[in-house]
């Protein structure tokens, strides 16, 4: 190893750092440390003159390591790495000390903050001595895409990609396309027909030359990494030829909550207590009739069934309120004289046109009755013999505080949307993580809502969480745009700071394989050792942490580097 020649740069960040940290003192303190060739400070290191300063010094002083003490590496690590690269040294021979977020912004004592800044800079200097040059890598992208799920999200993404002239494999577990939307009659808030929307879409997907539709097909296994995946499919239990593709969209959707677990509602016991989807079936058939073939005189719609209740699901399903109001319009059109009761916990009309839709629905001669979701659910019971209705709903009406009894002939339960419990294979195959409610987790909830932490794998629609049609479609198009972007580029950069297995130290226990969240590790039977797929590996370090033999090291996070950093931070004794 060549002798390290380190340049240290301390940033003022205007007054952000300088008002709480004596920048001059830090610069001076570290200037005499071994291997430090020069130590400077500047008002804004990230500015062009600041970067030029580094580039010039690297060249004139023949520096081979750089430390910048400034803000969080999240913000400017890439900026300074690029500067190093420009000056001709490997970008990984750079280290950043965070003296803003971790120091000046969070402390109030200038002397102490300055001492802490010195510690942090020394740690970075110690660490950077042991940095190694790492090479950037990229992989080619196969232009085909696998889409799992033939609902409205999957089909939208498929059409988007196929219309750009790229191949799509669309697999669907059921024997038809359309997903949940195919079951709906009308949609909210415009009361337009779901059938007229989804029908032509299915036709376009089925007839598109660039889309291969696989019905009755399940995903068995996915291998590979971003740009280069292969998958095993199973058609009605029969293994299919392997397919290859570069990106994956998971659009597996969700399923309606089964209300029979809620005792109060007697679902399954009373034939005229039905779920919202069963009611959609009646609407599509064009007749609202009770089990006994009569038109109901009193219809109740109970909201939040299985939603917003710790016993079932704590989250809100987002669309049921509006679907319930949509039902009001449909019931009122079919049964002008029926009494309609909306038994709700809170009315949520968050979207475009939804509040207006709610206000408009109140003119449909309905009775809103509020119940306390947390205290007591309404109870459905059989009517007395002399009642002119089939059932009674007993509840505490929250807006009046009165215990009331509602006569009903039909009850519609607005069931929660819950995650599929039979998609574990898909989850395992494509390497996505699940949140507490079993929904797929996105890479970043705000800034990267359709990507996942696995490169080349995207999630769209309701498998990510309950949402309405417009949101699902928007996500599908967003994922399609992302994929078309990588296809257009032809290649994608992959992580450099991956794990490395020292095969001679590996004992073959395979602990690392079981803990890897990215399925990046596999066991090589011939070598009797674990192997890292460097494209899949994100360098999280989990495997290295749990390897009992110490056979796994993470590039850029070697034991040596980390221990030196700790030594540096502990070296000063004030």
């Amino acid at each position: 190893m060549e002798e390290p020649r380190i340049g240290v740069y301390v940033c003022w960040c205007g007054t952000n750092i300088s008002k709480m940290v004596d920048v001059e003192a830090v610069t001076k303190e570290v200037s005499t440390l071994p291997s430090v060739v020069l130590s400077k400070n500047y008002k804004y290191m990230c500015s062009d003159p600041g970067q030029d300063l580094i580039i010039k010094d690297i060249k004139s002083h023949n520096l081979n390591r750089v430390v910048v003490a400034a803000c969080s590496p999240r913000l400017h690590e890439l900026t300074f790495r690029n500067a190093c690269e420009k000056a001709g040294i490997n970008p990984y021979l750079f280290e950043m000390a965070n003296i803003r977020e971790q120091d000046s912004w969070v402390h109030t004592d200038r002397t102490e903050a300055t001492k802490k800044a010195i510690d942090l800079v020394i740690a970075a200097i110690r660490r950077v001595r042991y940095h190694e040059s790492l090479q950037k890598r990229s992989v080619n992208v196969d232009p085909s895409t696998l889409i799992i799920g033939g609902g409205i999200s999957g089909m939208t993404a498929a059409l988007e990609i196929a219309n750009a002239g790229k191949k799509v494999f669309l697999i669907e577990k059921a024997d038809h396309l359309g997903g949940q939307v195919a079951r709906f009659d009308l949609t909210f808030p415009h009361l337009s027909s779901a059938q007229q929307m989804i029908g032509p879409m299915i036709q376009r997907v089925e007839n598109h030359p660039m889309i291969n539709v696989y019905l009755n097909t399940e995903l068995k296994e996915v291998k590979g990494y971003i740009g280069n995946f292969t998958a095993r499919l199973q058609f009605m239990g029969v293994e299919q030829p392997e397919i290859t593709f570069g990106n994956i969209i998971a659009a597996v959707g969700l399923k309606p909550f089964d209300p029979s677990v809620i005792e109060e509602y007697s679902y399954g016991k009373f034939p005229d207590v039905i779920t919202s989807l069963e009611f959609e079936d009646k609407l599509r058939a064009g007749r609202i009739l009770t089990k006994y073939g009569k038109e109901p005189r009193n219809v109740a719609i109970i909201h939040c069934v299985g939603s917003r209740n710790k016993k079932y699901h704590e989250y809100c399903s987002r669309v049921c309120c509006m679907v319930a109001l949509k039902f009001v319009h449909e019931i009122r059109a079919a049964l002008p004289d029926a009494n309609i009761f909306e038994i709700y916990a809170d009315m949520r009309a968050y979207g475009k046109g939804h509040e207006e839709f709610y206000a408009m629905t109140t003119h449909k001669q309905i009775i809103f009755l509020m119940y306390d979701q947390q205290k007591r659910l309404p109870v459905i019971s059989e009517a007395h013999r002399d009642d002119d209705c089939n059932m009674l709903i007993e509840m505490n009406e929250l807006l009046s505080g009165i215990d009331i009894e509602v006569p009903v002939d039909m009850v519609i339960l607005m069931v929660n949307m819950e995650a599929h419990d039979n998609v574990k294979e898909v989850v395992r195959a494509i390497g996505v993580s699940l949140c507490g409610n079993q929904f797929f987790i996105e890479k970043h909830p705000k800034l990267d809502p359709v990507a996942t932490t696995t490169g080349g794998v995207y999630i769209v629609g309701t498998c990510q969480g309950p949402k309405d049609i417009p949101d699902s479609v928007a996500q599908a198009k967003a994922a399609a745009a992302r994929i078309l972007g990588t296809i257009a580029q032809g290649s994608v950069a992959v992580e450099v700071t991956t794990a490395v297995v020292n095969e001679s130290l590996c004992c073959g226990c395979q602990t690392c394989i079981s803990v890897c969240p990215y399925t990046a590790l596999s066991y090589d039977e011939i070598k009797k050792a674990s192997v890292v797929n460097e494209v899949l590996c994100k360098g999280c370090g989990t495997c290295g942490g749990c390897c009992p033999a110490g056979a796994i090291t993470s590039k850029h996070f070697t034991d040596r580097q980390i221990l030196s950093e700790i030594e540096g931070i502990m070296s000063m004794s004030y």
Binding site: T362, H363, Q365, I367, E397, S400, I404, E405
Partner: protein
């Protein structure tokens, strides 16, 4: 014990003038800003809720609609334009029909045909009495009676006959009102209220009834004081006139024209002014529809104003013709006056809008009783 929701009740309530009964989404702004709403007697929101759910018994046991004097602030501040003030007004109409055991009130409020039919029938009976009944009793239109310059009201309409009729009418109206008030008491305090109030409290709080009958202090709590004033003039004018006509008719209906400063004439002028002023404010308000309290007018509101105005005008005409010595014109005005007055009192006081003269002060009294009530 839970109470049954009755959605069909709204069809009935709509007939009493309830417009968009479902616009309210229960933010409670109306109740929060109402100067009359108080702990234990919260309105309008809670009453709107009962109405929406059709809880008939709870509505009938409500004293709150009568505690509202319709300043209209709730309707102005309502974010949903649900017009809570008008909903309370409609509830008062509905409750009037509920207290009334004869069922006539409901007929009059929900059918213009019934109300107009009865007004015309009563008016016709009055005219017939003057033209047929009185002459058959021996009171003929003699030459002296109609001679120029000699107005003889007492010969045309004999005091003791008119007085007997007045007392009879007052007795009918009073017995109807009293029986209805007993029903009101039964519904509010006894039946659904399920409360017990001691006799002593009944006696002790009785002064509230008199106070509220005479000066309406609750009305004066509304932010806009103008209507309290115009209402008070109208109310005091009418009450004076009513007492004078029923109790002191011989003192009031004199053959001799007394001097202007005589209390008989001064009282008459005051009552006329009070009536006209109150009527003017109400009629102009209902025509202009600028103030939210006058935005909606039920047919019963207009009929009441029309009859009261006609009564006042015919009364003024009698006076003018009498002091100018025009006998025939005086007698015709007298008949016209009676043919408006009689149906107005027989229909409006026990069965319609005017019954509030009894229900409002009694409501305040009952409210006070409820405050001292113990569960039965």
């Amino acid at each position: 014990m839970s109470v049954r929701v009755q959605p069909e009740l709204r069809n009935q309530l709509i007939q009493f003038g309830i417009g968009d009964w479902n616009a309210c989404y229960h933010c409670g702004t109306c109740t929060a800003q109402c100067p009359l709403s108080e702990e234990g007697f919260l309105f309008p929101r809670k009453k709107i809720r009962l109405m929406q759910m059709g809880l008939k018994n709870e509505l009938e046991a409500s004293v709150e609609p009568w505690l509202c004097y319709y300043c209209g602030d709730c309707s102005t501040s309502c974010p949903r334009d649900a017009n809570p003030g008008e909903l309370m007004m409609s509830l008062r109409r509905y409750l009037t029909s509920i207290y009334d055991w004869t069922g006539m009130s409901k007929k009059f409020y929900t059918s213009e045909l019934w109300e107009l039919g009865f007004i015309i029938a009563f008016a016709a009976l009055v005219v017939l009495s003057f033209l047929i009944v009185l002459p058959s009793m021996g009171y003929h239109f003699t030459r002296e009676l109609t001679a120029e310059g000699g107005v003889q009201v007492n010969a045309f309409a004999p005091i003791h006959v008119v007085e007997t009729f007045d007392w009879t009418m007052a007795a009918i109206v009073a017995s109807l009102l009293i029986s209805n008030i007993l029903r009101m008491y039964y519904k509010i305090i006894w039946k659904y209220g399920n409360m017990k109030v001691s006799i002593w409290v009944h006696i002790r709080e009785f002064w509230l009834l008199i106070l509220n009958f005479t000066v309406q202090p609750k009305f004066n709590k509304c932010d806009d004081k103008r209507y309290w004033l115009s209402h008070w003039f109208l109310m005091s004018g009418y009450t004076i006139m009513f007492i004078v006509i029923v109790v002191y008719l011989p003192w009031f209906q004199t053959e001799k024209i007394l001097p202007v400063w005589h209390p008989q004439r001064l009282l008459g002028y005051y009552a006329t002014f009070g009536l006209l002023f109150g009527l003017f404010v109400a009629i102009i308000g209902r025509i202009q529809r600028k103030d939210i309290k006058f935005l909606f007018s039920h047919i019963s509101d207009w009929l009441f104003l029309a009859m009261l105005t006609l009564t006042a005008i015919t009364g003024i005409l009698i006076h003018i013709f009498r002091i100018t010595g025009m006998p025939v014109a005086t007698y015709i005005s007298y008949i016209a006056h009676m043919s408006v007055l009689v149906p107005m009192i027989l229909i409006e006081v026990p069965f319609s809008k005017w019954s509030h003269l009894a229900y409002r002060p009694f409501a305040v009294y009952f409210q006070q009783l409820k405050k001292y009530a113990v569960p039965r």
